[in-house]
């Protein structure tokens, strides 16, 4: 079995309101030295396949569902 970590993040230049709002909430809880907060989405997918195939499949998942290429980029890491 392989475990793939699929990381979906916003492309540079796309505003990140979730990060911005999260930062505000953290500051309200008293964290005053924050320089930046970015929101990143992570999926952990377990596959019964060998690594090369698994990577290909995960990239296909990104293209078909997990990422919208207009605003998001993705990275697949296998463990």
């Amino acid at each position: 079995m392989v475990v793939a970590e699929i990381r979906i993040e916003l492309k540079p230049g796309v505003a990140d309101p979730e990060g911005r709002n999260t930062r505000k909430a953290l500051e309200l809880l008293g964290f005053n030295d924050i320089r930046g907060v970015r929101s990143i989405k992570m999926f952990e997918v377990e596959l019964d396949a060998d690594p090369a195939v698994a990577r290909q499949e995960c990239e296909e998942m990104c293209r078909r569902l997990l990422a919208n290429p207009v605003i998001q980029k993705y990275r697949v890491d296998l463990r």
Binding site: K11, G13, V14, A15, P17, E18, R20, N21, R63, R64, L65, L66, N68, P69, V70, I71
Partner: protein
């Protein structure tokens, strides 16, 4: 008179299907609320439905599948994997498809909009992204009808006229790929694909709050080049009567809701 059959398609999390069906019923059509599983055959046989047997397809608003992953993405993926051929055939036959709010997001994720290079794009060519305010915005919005050509949606809404349809969404900012933004917009204009743009009460293309999301070129709704697939963020099905306009107690002249002509146009176009 021919009965106009409308498929109001839903999955878990769709939540504007009642008023969407009501909208079509109030202009004389026969709407049916259909669960995606009924089209896919994942149901008892007496509940099975065929997309082909409908004249109009409506994707109503809501939070399909919780809007997990991305607004509309899961609904789109399920449609694409199980119903691709039928959908493409439906669109290519020229039958009207309308997606409102979450339905618009689904059409974009599906590649049925803006679809400048074929009926259905492989990957999304646009995104409906988080509003500039970072918040869910539920407020009245004014839309100017911008399309010059004919088509099933705008026969009853003259070019240049302004209608009020409320918006209620957190992700309605239309975006195009960074490098090709200008070119995409130009092509949309060339193809006469822009149907609605946000304006203020003076008819100007104004910023927030009149454009609630920061959408490019104040775009509220677009259609495909053929003009039979429409996606829009604001909700015409919420203004079927004058009493759901936000200022109806001070505007005695209006007789019906601004959303009604859109549904009437659709139904008359297929009758």
């Amino acid at each position: 008179m021919k009965a106009v059959r409308v498929c109001v398609l839903r999955i878990e999390g769709t939540n504007c299907e009642d008023e969407a069906a009501q909208a079509f019923a109030s202009v004389g059509a026969s709407p049916e609320k259909v669960h995606l599983k009924q089209l896919l055959g994942q149901c008892p046989s007496d509940r099975r439905r065929e997309l082909d047997s409908y004249d109009v397809l409506m994707l109503p608003g809501g939070f399909s599948a919780g809007d997990y992953v991305r607004a509309g993405a899961i609904f789109a993926a399920r449609l694409k994997s199980g119903l691709r051929k039928e959908l493409v055939a439906f669109v290519e036959a020229g039958r009207p498809v309308i997606g409102v709010c979450n339905g618009f997001q689904v059409l974009v994720e599906l590649g049925l909009l803006p679809a400048m290079d074929g009926t259905m794009a492989e990957a999304p060519e646009a995104a409906l992204y988080t509003n500039d305010s970072g918040r869910f915005e539920c407020r009245p919005t004014l839309l100017r009808q911008e399309r010059r050509g004919k088509g099933p949606f705008t026969a009853g809404i003259p070019h240049g006229s302004v209608v009020m349809c409320p918006s209620a969404h957190a992700e309605g900012k239309l975006m195009f790929p960074r490098g090709t933004r200008r070119r995409t917009l130009e092509r949309l204009l060339e193809n006469d694909q822009i149907v609605f743009r946000y304006v203020n009460p003076d008819g100007e293309y104004a910023g927030y709050p009149w454009c609630p999301n920061g959408s490019i070129y104040n775009i509220a709704g677009i259609c495909n080049p053929a003009g039979n697939v429409l996606g829009m963020m604001p909700h015409p099905e919420r203004v079927l009567r004058r009493e759901t306009h936000p200022d109806w107690t001070r505007t005695p002249g209006r007789e019906e809701g601004d959303g009604l002509p859109l549904f009437r146009s659709i139904v008359e176009s297929v009758r």
